[in-house]
Each structure stands twice: as structure tokens, then as C-alpha cells.
């Protein structure tokens, strides 16, 4: 958490309150929050179950009829809370599931997000990973079902993939618990040891890039741009419908940055 404003512990408290109220997530003070994203049918739940075992808690996302599963595990004496996001193909379209996943990654500010991919159809699955990487730099890619890929005689050059994407890549076969220890280690070094990543940004076509750079200066002025990747924000301003923008501004009103919400003057925020 990189908060430049206010007392650190204060902001931390604020953050855990936001987590509780907006996402129904209760953390004990020293717990790291890890989001688990992925397409449907990639074995995301298998990864979740394999990591958390019986330490699970299920419910609904606040105000939604979508299941929310949380579970915790310890690794090297640190406690991690794993939040299973709904399975989605993308974060761009407008289903409730995608909204939940997007809002959580974007505004829940988890300490890391694991994106689970299906090794047998990487091309389709990478779409989600790239979109998550656009929002957050704290991304770990878990390429699951490598056993199936082996059966289908596919071999994946993980080193090349890692070099290209700039985030940790962990091949797993969660069904056989293969690679899970590596996944835990990757999470540990990201959130505890603060290992840096250089997430690859999607190279857009010229027109799109131009539209982004035209908008970027205005977006960077927003206080929100300190929490959310301004390029991502600019893109969403360009391609989303108004309801999503309203969601963003609703969340931006409860961001920890806004500890000075009372200083609203004539509707303008002063920060």
C-alpha cells in the first residue's frame, strides 16, 4: 500500500473498513489479501481449494447474488487471505461477475492478484491476464492445467512468457498439487519481500494510443489517478458506458485517499 497522504496506520484501518463494507472481506490486521481471478473452467476453484484446504468461508458479494469464497493459508509464518473472484473472460464487458472482479482488483487494492490461466488455451486466457496487468502491477500468473497441456502435446516456453509479460509466471497442475509451493513462494516474494514487477502494457493500435495520450493529461490531474493506473482510467473513459464511470466515481469517493471527505467544497474535492 503506497499511500502518500495521512497517517499510515490510519489509512490501513480505512482500507480494511472499505474492504469490509464494500466487498465483505474481513482481514485480521496482519493478513495479506490475495485475489484469485481467472476464466471459467480453468481450475481456479481447484487452486483455491488446494491452497486453503478447509479454511474457507463462503457467502455472497455484498448486495449481489454471486458467490464469494474466501479462505486463508499460512506460508513462512505469514497469513494470507485468498479471495476467489467470479470466473470471467474479461474485465471489459458488463456482466455482474465482471463488475465484481474488476471492482475488487481496482478498488479493493489486494496485495496481489493471482490470475489463473488454462495452459491449453493460453491465447484466450491471456486476454484477462493482460487486462488485470493494466489495472495492477502486483500480478502473478498461474498457468494451470499443464498436465492437460502435456496430454495435448503442447509445450509452453514459460521463461519467454515471463520475460515478455514482466510478471512472475508459475506453471501448475493444481489437481496433483504440482507447482503450488512455487505459487505460494511467488506470492510471498511479491507481497512480503516486495519483489518488483514490470507488467507488460498492451500495445494498442495507433488510433487508440492517440486517443489515450490526448486524454491522459486531464486524467492525471484527478486524485483517483494516484490509486488507479491513469492509462487504464483513460481507456475506460473512452470505451465504457456511463454506468461504469459512475461506479468509478462512487468508489473514488470512498478511497482511503479521501480521508478528508469533509473538505468537500461546492461539490469539488480538494485534495
Amino acid at each position: 500500500m503506497k499511500l502518500k497522504l495521512g497517517d499510515h496506520s490510519n489509512a490501513l484501518q480505512y482500507h480494511s473498513r472499505v474492504m469490509r463494507e464494500q466487498f465483505g472481506i474481513r482481514t485480521t490486521g496482519e493478513q495479506y489479501v490475495i485475489a484469485l481471478a481467472g476464466n471459467p473452467n480453468v481450475g481456479k476453484s481447484t487452486v483455491f481449494n488446494a491452497l486453503t484446504g478447509l479454511h474457507q468461508h463462503t457467502g455472497n458479494w455484498p448486495g449481489k447474488t454471486v458467490d464469494n469464497a474466501q479462505g486463508n493459508y499460512s506460508y513462512r509464518n505469514k497469513s494470507f487471505l485468498l479471495v476467489d473472484l467470479p470466473g470471467t473472460y474479461s474485465l471489459l464487458a458488463h456482466s455482474v461477475e465482471e463488475e465484481i472482479a474488476r471492482d475488487f482488483i481496482c478498488f479493493g487494492q489486494p496485495d496481489a492478484t493471482i490470475v489463473v490461466l488454462d495452459a491449453t488455451s493460453l491465447e484466450r486466457n491471456l486476454n484477462l491476464a493482460l487486462q488485470v496487468m493494466e489495472i495492477s502491477s502486483k500480478v502473478i500468473i498461474c498457468v494451470n492445467l499443464i498436465d492437460e497441456a502435456r496430454k495435448k502435446k503442447l509445450s509452453i516456453n514459460f521463461d519467454e512468457l515471463e520475460k515478455e509479460l514482466g510478471v512472475p509466471i508459475v506453471p501448475t497442475a493444481a489437481r496433483n498439487r504440482e507447482g503450488l509451493a512455487d505459487l505460494q513462494k511467488a506470492v510471498y516474494s511479491m507481497v512480503v519481500e516486495k519483489k518488483k514487477t514490470w507488467p507488460k502494457q498492451i500495445p494498442y493500435s495507433e488510433e487508440v494510443e492517440q486517443a489515450i495520450s490526448a486524454l491522459l493529461p486531464k486524467v492525471e490531474e484527478l486524485s483517483l489517478a494516484r490509486v488507479v493506473n491513469p492509462k487504464w482510467l483513460a481507456l475506460r473513459l473512452l470505451d465504457s458506458d456511463v454506468s461504469f464511470i459512475e461506479t468509478i466515481s462512487r468508489y473514488s469517493a470512498i478511497q482511503p485517499l479521501r480521508t478528508v471527505a469533509s473538505q468537500r467544497q461546492g461539490g469539488e474535492f480538494t485534495l
Partner: protein, 466 residues
Amino acid sequence: MSTLNPPDPLLKIYSDTESVRSSSGIPIADRVVTDIFAYTEKLTQRVVIREEGLQSSWKDNIDKFVISRVFGYPLMLLLLGAVFWLTIAGANVPSAMIASVLFAFQDVLTHWFQLVQAPAWLHGVLVLGMYRTLAWVTAVMLPPMAIFFPLFTLLEDLGYLPRVVFNLDNMFKKANACGKQCLTMCMGFGCNAAGVVSARIIDSPRERLIAILTNNFVPCNGRFPTLIAIASIFMASTLFLSQSLLAAGMITLIVLLGIGFTFVVSWALSKTILKGEPSSVVLELPPYRLPKVGAVFYRSLIDRTIFVLRRALVVAAPAGALTWILANVYIGDVSVIASIAGVLDPIAKAIGLDGFILMAFILGLPANEIVVPVLLMSYLATGQLTEFDSLFELKKILLANGWTWLTAFNTMLFALLHWPCATTLLSMYKETGSKKWTFMGFMIPTVIAFSVCFIVAQVVYFLGLV
């Protein structure tokens, strides 16, 4: 655009960029997705090495045709036409057989009634009204359904339907509607009420309303038998190949017309009272599977055929009795049914139908399945022809009542386009929670049905084609 919170800087930037979003050409949202996939494709080619695997290759190749720009639509048409042709060509003989068995039993029933010296009106209501209607519904509807539904389920089980959605997505985009509407449309082929309820999968309220209001333009289970019956009776009274092909082509055309109206009305709605941009759909094409034949037959015969037939019979029995009573109660020297039909006749004639047909459609509001039975009942009860031993007699009945090819064609058109059944209207009300939109859901098809039939009839009359 509603800016609930005008001073919010984010919303301000958003409304400032309106021009970029609404600029012509491909929407930015689509370009963003295209760019992402262009990148992932390149990346995947670099990092994934596919060792020569022979198993999956033919399945991949099939999709090159099934969802290709060139072959996608013709293949869809061909499959649709083939399904209809098999249905029509195959249904004739069993229909005639069922008809002869059931009508033979009617004579037995009549004999029993005579034995116990039952009053004539009781025999009329129960045998000539109820039983005969039930017999007709079964004979006309059961064989086509027993062929059509398994074929349709087979395509579904093969994994073809998601490909249809894929092919049609672009069309829905052009109509400014959601590609998911194709799924609700396919659902509508089963039952429009189910189609309306399934519109819940569409998240944008605007697109959901469009899907709900246009669902009626695909013929449901209840109307397919009407279409198939009329087409096969009228176009294929003999088993000549060319005629059954013609009938199949006819139905394909009618279905395409319905889909065409779905697009046109969706487009018109999204340009007028339901303005907005379409949202995109992510669709996973499932692998092709060999259908489980047992499951297909069970699902299509028990779940669909028997279900639809049962529903038809339940509604048709009282409707048959009612029609018989109406046809045999006289005010002055005109039966009630004839006087109602007489009132409707001028309007009906103007749109190429007759008073009885229009009345049958009105009485069919509770369930579209009973339109043909009620129609036949009212013809039979008033008319002479009560002796028949095969399905081909049906054509004689219709011809004797002044049907021409225009009557048949416009009846099919009207069946396709007219108001939704009561169940569908009720679902619309439940889903939208609005009397206004339910009323629209009733009015849009009704107005379209009357106008289209009117134009067709007037053009044909004017050109002196009948």
C-alpha cells in the same frame, strides 16, 4: 446522458470525450479488444509449441467453415432448410395414419353414444367438439414435432447453436443490440415466454428490453406446428419431392423473415425510444461432441414434444367444446360463430385472411397451439365436410372455405408476426414490471402483423394474382 453528479471531474471528462466514443467507424471498445487479441495471438504463437497432434485437427477445420464469413450464413440456411424439409417430408405419412386411426375411433365413440341414447348436444360437445379437436391436434401436430424437435436437439447437442450465436452476433451489433439477444432468440424458438425470461442474461436494461420486445418474432413451439401444418397441407399435398422442398423453403423463408423483423425492430427501437450503444459478448465455443442419441430422444420427445402436445391438448379440449357450442347456438338463423366471423370478416379480408382465421387467432391468445384446431373446428362445425379419412382432406376443407395460396401465405405471416400468447405477455409484465412495456410488447407485433399482411394482400389483389 445522465450526469447525476455534474461537478464530479471524472464524469465531466467522460462527457467531454463523448465525441470520441460516438465518432463513426469501429467503436473504441471493439478496437481495444481487437488489439488485445492481436497481441495475445502473436505472443501465444511465440511461446506455445504445438507438437504434431492429429486428434483435434478435423474439429478445428470444421469451425473454419461453420463460422467463416463466406460459408457461415449459407450453411445455416441449408441446415435450417434441411431440418424443415425432413420434418415436412417425414410427417405426412404418420399424420395420415394417426388421423385415420383416431377418426375411426370417433365413429366407435359415436356408436357408443347412440347405444346409451345420449342426447345429441352431449354427443356434439364431447365427441364432435372435444374429441375431434383433440384428434386433429394430435394428427396434425404430433408427427412434425416428433421429427422437428429431435433434429433441433441434435444440432443443439452437436454444439452448433453457439456457432449460430457467433455468426449472428455481428448482425445484432449492427442493429445496436446485444449479441446475447441471439441466445434469447434461440430460446424463443422453444417458447417465447422462456425467451422473454431468458433475457435476464442481458445486463444492460436497454438491450434487455429490446430482446424482450422482439422475442415474439421467432416462431415458438406453439406456432411451428401451425406453420408446418399449413405449409405441408398447402404446398405439399402429395409426396412429390419438389413440393415438399417448396414447403420447406417456404418455412425457412418465414423464419428468416421473423429473424429479419427481429433485427429491423431492434434497430428501430435502439434508434428511437431505446437509444444507446451495444455492449460486447464473450462467447466460448464448446468443442463438437458426438450427441448422445438416447439423451437427445428423451429430451426432445419427453421434454418438448409431449410437453407441447399436452399443453395443446389441455387448451384445445375446452376450446373445441366452446367452438362447437358457439357454432351450434343460433341467434336468429346465424350461428354465434358465423356472426362473430362475419363481424371480423371485412378487416380480415383486407389483410388477406377471413373472419374465421382472425377469430381463431384471437381465440388462440391463451395458447398459439390451438389456432389450427379452432379454425378447423369452426369450418367443420358450420360446414358440410364431416367425413374424412386422411390428412389430404384438410386441404379440401380449406379450399372449400375459399382459401387461396394468398390465404395460406398470409395466415403463416400472421402466425409469425401477430401478438404474443397470454403466457408470454404475462412473462413480459413480470420481467419488465411495467404495463407500458407489456402493452408495447403486444402492440408492436400486432401493428406489424396487420400492416405486413395488409400490404401483401393489397399488392396481390391489385396485381390480380388471385
